[in-house]
Symmetry: C2
Amino acid sequence: MSKKQSVTLKELAKELQLSVSTVSRALNDHPDISEPTRKKVKQLAKRRHYTPNLFAKGFRSHRTHILGVIVPNISHYFTTTILKGILAQSESLGYRVIISESRNDQQKQTEMLETMIQFGVDGILMALARKTKSVDSILEILERIPLVMFDKVSDKIPCTQVVINEEEAAYNAIEHLINIGKNRIAIIKETERSFNSKKRFEGYLRALKEHNIPIDKKIILSTEDISLEKGRMMANILLSLKKRPDAIFAITDSAAIGVIKALHKFKVTIPDEIAVVGFSNSNSSTIISPALSTVDQPGSKIGKTAVTYLIDEIENPKEDLLTKTIEIKTNLIVRDSSFIP
Amino acid sequence: MSKKQSVTLKELAKELQLSVSTVSRALNDHPDISEPTRKKVKQLAKRRHYTPNLFAKGFRSHRTHILGVIVPNISHYFTTTILKGILAQSESLGYRVIISESRNDQQKQTEMLETMIQFGVDGILMALARKTKSVDSILEILERIPLVMFDKVSDKIPCTQVVINEEEAAYNAIEHLINIGKNRIAIIKETERSFNSKKRFEGYLRALKEHNIPIDKKIILSTEDISLEKGRMMANILLSLKKRPDAIFAITDSAAIGVIKALHKFKVTIPDEIAVVGFSNSNSSTIISPALSTVDQPGSKIGKTAVTYLIDEIENPKEDLLTKTIEIKTNLIVRDSSFIP
DNA sequence: CTGAAAGCGCTTACAG
DNA sequence: CTGAAAGCGCTTACAG
């Protein structure tokens, strides 16, 4: 079907016997234009359903009002809450968002950064793909276009980074376990030294140290590609120890749920024999029984904050790069898996 | 910071003492260009990291290679699987995707369609906002730009629509329940006559009819804004009946999970006393205990199919509109909530 | 084989 | 107060 063409300034001008310049100015409320002309133009524009071609506009001004977003996996609930914040905030500030999924593939990630620039985005928001070894291509991007990172970040990249208070969140989770009387607390973390896993582990260590609880390497487990299944496996290992832990902190909800499933299987009572705490407040944390205690990460706020900083950088370019880390506060949600009255 | 400007054709031309036209043609492998020139140009382009400004390119050709996507809620797992398919397929065909969330708000949805057109998208993919009363604005859009709908569709809109075999999927679910010996099967559906709810209900009715099971209105429940909580409430109602059902089919997983939670509370054994089947194969369906039988909807395939049809329409414009419905097959996954050996 | 020129739809400095 | 012209970065029909 031959689609209706959009009305252009030229057509409006012709119909009104005016120049394109005048029509453009009238629509943009330029002070030079007389009231009657302005009215006439606006009326016709309305009647003919004129909508400016933002593409032409952006092309001229070198600004597209489009932001690029790259996330490792769009299906993670936490990611979608961040995206919600990004969409809402950018829309309310007059920007659109192009989203890509790196699928945790570093090379894809690099390509995506390139095409986003080709598509003329005004700035980029990104969470790093897992196992991103070299950040060179990102550093190069940084010289060309404003970039703000969130959630999966790297201190090797000098840009604004919006994260949660990972260390403190883990600290609070462990302290809570200590408060309910636990003192042999296992942790399930990632092998990879990702920013998130590292910080959460630091919080774990600090909590134990500050409460004078000895650190036992036997109950500090690491796994690659942490998941429900890995959580289950790690729990099996912990259950086979001579001295079992009395609490397990998994740095993701899915691993924590795997832990609960394993404990069920071996008829371990939760939380009395072993308490469990996860991280994310994912949907599943209230589906599993007992309901999982977990750290709530305000995704929407992270997204909104990241957009706000990015657009600020776009609209008020600074002379120099600086690593600025914004920490968003999390909240420990205590549910049955660690509730002892 | 003053960001590095991208290299333009003009600069390459100047450096090579060639015209912009020649450089453009060389890069696009135009047959007129001599081999040595082509080589020279490509080499320099590479060395200077030239990337074409797709924006200018698109502006000229009236094609942006950007698709607009509108979904009601980006956090639904099923939606994210569709988005995954959309992203993967459009990327592999050289398109980018702008995503917006209508938050089930009809007015927002209309605005979004407008801005997408302003942003010059080549085509639009959309799932209808809940309770979309008037489709007038969408019909108008349809005259201007290719549009393909998916999942939440309406037969009032004459365009390509990609859906699952809703009716048949429900039919299969009910037939499965009958096969395991159930004959008093309740359904929890939506009040609103959405395409999806309507079709699933039709499948329910047909299965009962074909197996000569009488229809009892007392166990056909409808609710607005179906959710886990509503599922729980509906289950309570069903449990209070003099003649309880021996199976419950909920048209969403979340409602089905609510049902399971309610049954637990009243110590009803699943599936012996009451079997439960949901719809979606969401993450939670394997977290809940007993694991939930459910209909798996191949989201990624839906997304890919929708993109394929849309891009075909963009690249091979047809003369006339026609409603074409593509049905993607689903798969019933039987788990413990309805498994009777 | 290569170049000069027009044009995509818009904005804006420059004239008048 | 209004208009003609240049220009954003690219492609392509028209010359040569």
